[in-house]
Symmetry: C2
């Protein structure tokens, strides 16, 4: 008997019909002898509807109160799924994050999970019940309702799987797996059967949008076997999706690159003429972090004449706010020459554990882009990924030529 955690997103829970579909799928897994814990998101559009309602009442809703409100989206879907399962004769019981209890810190709208009490769930599972838990939400030490930020339901799913030592955490979504790149841009993109956590982490963080990055980190850290599947495949015609594993693929003909990821939700900021002395990076990024702005790429080149330039990227929605912090709090404080910014950029990355043992990936990538006349603005590398920032207008072109240059349109032997 396996213990499976399944997570269904907002599209899968979008209508009464789809909820009944999810219930039938859960029932099949249960009848195959598994214990099943289900994590659900709010119905698609509901969180946005609630946020719009909040903004209709208050231009800058207080985060604590926003969390009280938007957590209701999942509170509705857990109950609906429990009802649908009971109609199919499956004993089921719903829990909010506070009821489970998913303990988080008190960073409203972006809380982090501290611990999960698995006692209630374990008792219900032993009692032959399906347990349904509201994704995206928790409760802090003082009993305040918190939410985990966008995509937080994936994180809830993985965290529950870790707490329960589940055999597999299945993330059901509207795509049937992880692709070498976005098929809307490159029709030849292929579905990957397996991908490593590290690769998935790079793919997710670079905007592949299949899985929320925090959930992949969590899964890697706690060795949770994670699988991305489609909730729209018909009974009997389900595919295996993409398995995200700890083990690297050890076949002879490893592909060098697993996929081309991209992200157009970024903006770049540069602090020019920064005094080249120790501690300057934390003086720049400290106030940014305090304002709860997540920083992605960070680049600082060697200085000359005692000064250097410092660049980083943030989510495009944080662009104006970050620019203001730089101008008002950082520039005068550290004595920088000027602040520059650009929110018409995108990031394109080649990801793959294979590049560890294959030198020349970077040069092939840069050559391919150069041949198309695409100017590279920033470069950042890790062991398994190379990212470049280019003008937003080149996004599709860059993804297409890189996908082809690394042979991703060819089925591996």
């Amino acid at each position: 008997m396996a213990l499976i955690v399944q997570k269904y997103g907002g599209t899968s829970m979008g209508t009464p019909d789809r909820i009944r579909n999810v219930a039938r799928r859960v029932k099949r897994w249960k009848e195959q002898g598994n214990q099943v814990v289900v994590v659900v998101s709010a119905m698609s559009g509901e969180t946005n509807r609630l946020i719009a309602l909040a903004k209709d009442v208050s231009p800058h809703p207080e985060p604590r109160e926003l969390d009280v409100m938007i957590s209701t989206g999942e509170q509705v879907t857990i109950a609906l799924l429990a009802m649908a399962l009971q109609d199919l004769g499956v004993d089921a019981r719903s829990y909010t994050g506070a009821q489970v209890r998913v303990l988080t810190d008190s960073t409203f709208t972006k809380a982090r999970i501290l611990s999960i009490d698995e006692g209630k769930m374990r008792r219900d599972l032993d009692d032959n019940k399906v347990v349904i838990v509201a994704g995206f939400q928790g409760v802090d030490e003082a009993g305040n309702i918190t939410t985990l930020g966008r995509g937080g339901s994936d994180t809830t799913g993985v965290a529950l799987a870790a707490a329960l030592s589940a055999d597999e955490c299945q993330i059901y979504t509207d795509v049937d797996g992880v692709y070498t790149t976005d098929p809307r841009i490159v029709p030849e993109a292929r579905k990957l059967d397996r991908i490593t956590f590290e690769e998935m982490l790079e793919m997710a963080s670079l905007g592949s949008k299949v899985l929320q990055i925090r959930s992949v980190e969590f899964a890697g850290k706690y060795k949770v076997k994670l699988r991305v599947l489609s909730s729209f495949e018909e009974e009997g015609k389900e595919t295996q999706g993409t398995l995200i594993t700890v083990e690297e693929d050890t076949q002879m003909e490893d592909p060098i690159i697993s996929g081309i990821a991209f992200n157009r939700d970024e903006a770049k900021l540069t602090v020019l003429g920064v005094p080249d002395r120790p501690g300057i990076a934390s003086q720049i990024l400290g106030p940014i972090a305090e304002a709860n702005v997540d920083v992605d790429m960070i680049i600082q080149n060697v200085g000359h004449d005692g000064s250097t330039d410092f660049s980083f990227t943030v989510n495009r929605s944080e662009y104006a706010r970050t620019l203001k912090i730089l101008e008002e709090k950082i520039k005068p404080h550290i004595g920088a020459r000027a602040i520059k910014g650009d929110n018409k950029i995108c990031k394109v990355s080649a990801v793959g554990v294979g590049m560890r043992s294959h030198p020349g990936v970077a040069s092939q990538m840069f050559r391919t882009l150069a041949e198309e006349g695409i100017n590279i603005q920033m470069i950042s590398t890790s062991e398994i990924k190379i990212s470049v920032v280019v003008d937003e207008k080149y996004l599709e072109l860059a993804v297409r030529v890189l996908h082809q240059a690394f042979g991703l349109d060819r089925t591996p032997a």
Copy 2:
């Protein structure tokens, strides 16, 4: 400094504009030096929308899950009101029923309040905050979310006022007070400045719909000063509404009757040929109570030939279910001759503490109805009320002639 509990219904919270209006009113009370606790209902229509959604997924939603779901309506409005107050510079904090904690029994969809922990509220009030609490909901000993049934927000308001020993509990609604009868039927109906709890209880239970009956019982039991007010009156033009008091009005010229109440939501059931022996009433009403059907009027006349007829009324929506219980579980069990029912009836009542010291009210009532050719089907009396059941088609006529016969259209001296 007074401690005021204010309750705003779904119409008062129906749109962002109205919520901001409520926030301004709360702010005025706060600025006048009062401590304010606010109880809110869901936005009008929201609870029905959620119930419809549940029924779209499941024909007979499980009560526990229904409560998880419909309690979200108030969870949204507490947050919205807190945001609106914060925008006005008023420090405010929202709580769900579970957070406060409003402890109830486990009768899902119809739970009863057992106790309220006023600690958190008291600390916030001392901290100069406005406290906002979700009406209609609570939590049971096991941590399950419960709801109190229709109109339960009034009960929450009164229960909080009792727990906090508040100076007054103000129920804001879309009418400006309690009237001698429904002005839509009798245009000469007058607003009452004061009414006793007992009278209000009779008025509310008979369908005046201004206040939920349980909240009036609660208020009477715990001596909470209750006031019904309009939330739609403009600033500076507010009236005093109707005060519901423990003390009887002791003016010289007491009116005999305070108002004419009516209810068309009832249905009558009769068990014919019941053996006239001890215990028969509980044998009939036991299974009805177990099915959670509330019984209103109960009439049993003296028997003859060892048998009697037993009649009672229930809410019209419970008519079919009650008929079925009588036919299947009660008739064969007690050996009754037949079951009869009628759901085209209404109840009309004259209410007033004054009738205690004025004989002849009943005969005047019956005479007035007889003069209009209205046949009385059932009669039930208490110390301060006389109710009759008549054919539904006579409702308006009966209310009008009784309102005039008791001089309710004349302003008291």
